[in-house]
Amino acid sequence: MNVVFWILAVITILGGLTAVTLKNTVHCALALTVAFAGLALLFLELDAQFAGFAQILVYIGAVAILVVFAILLTRGSEMPSEGVFSRTWFAGLLIAAGVFSVLAWAVLHSTAALPHESNVPAVDVRQIGHALMGRYVLPLEIVALLLTSAMLGAVIVAMHEKGEQK
């Protein structure tokens, strides 16, 4: 495993850690953006260029901005009065540690069943286009419907009701 993978892995994990531990919510959102960027670069390292660029375009270009706007609209950048971690934080930490240990054990102890390394797949966008319009046309149409309904739903949920005071 090469140096690039280790650097990107460290960036992603540090980004994720700072995103869940910092006190200032906007700093958490910016650290999340760093984690997204690290993951996009990991996708590029795995020769999945389309997925990597789609990750940058969707996550950093849209979801990160959504999160930041939501923080601003709900006054999240002010310091909370009782600390940032909930009363039951220890249980949460234990559960997360348990999940990680189970997953790591599963990954490291099933080496015999993991497939061997194959040669680099040559993926160009034309193949992706053919796949989207051929084999995956039904998921594509369903995702279109899903995105439309999610957009309408988000607008309706967050809209001011008639006559409600701000």
Partner: protein, 103 residues
Amino acid sequence: MTPLDGYLLVAALVFAIGLAGALTRRNAILVLIGIELMLNAANLNLVAFWRYGPHPELLTGMMFAVFSIAVAAAEAAVGLGLVIAIYRHARTTDLDEINRMKG
């Protein structure tokens, strides 16, 4: 440790960090941040298995990851809309305070 093991461990670690964030923070938006990290870790898993698995020319793993990105974006939008609506009603995003079903 094969390269695939490395990617899977990184994905498992990011998943655990996201889970810890979702379970221990008070602010509702940080719970959503944790959920986004978990979804991203799952995407990394998918793409790693696509790359190092049999038949990468079928593009299954990468397509799955791209659709997952689209669905996660939609879910983030709706989730943040919900958080804004709850804030408008309860004047706080602290999840320890919003613990009653009665409005």
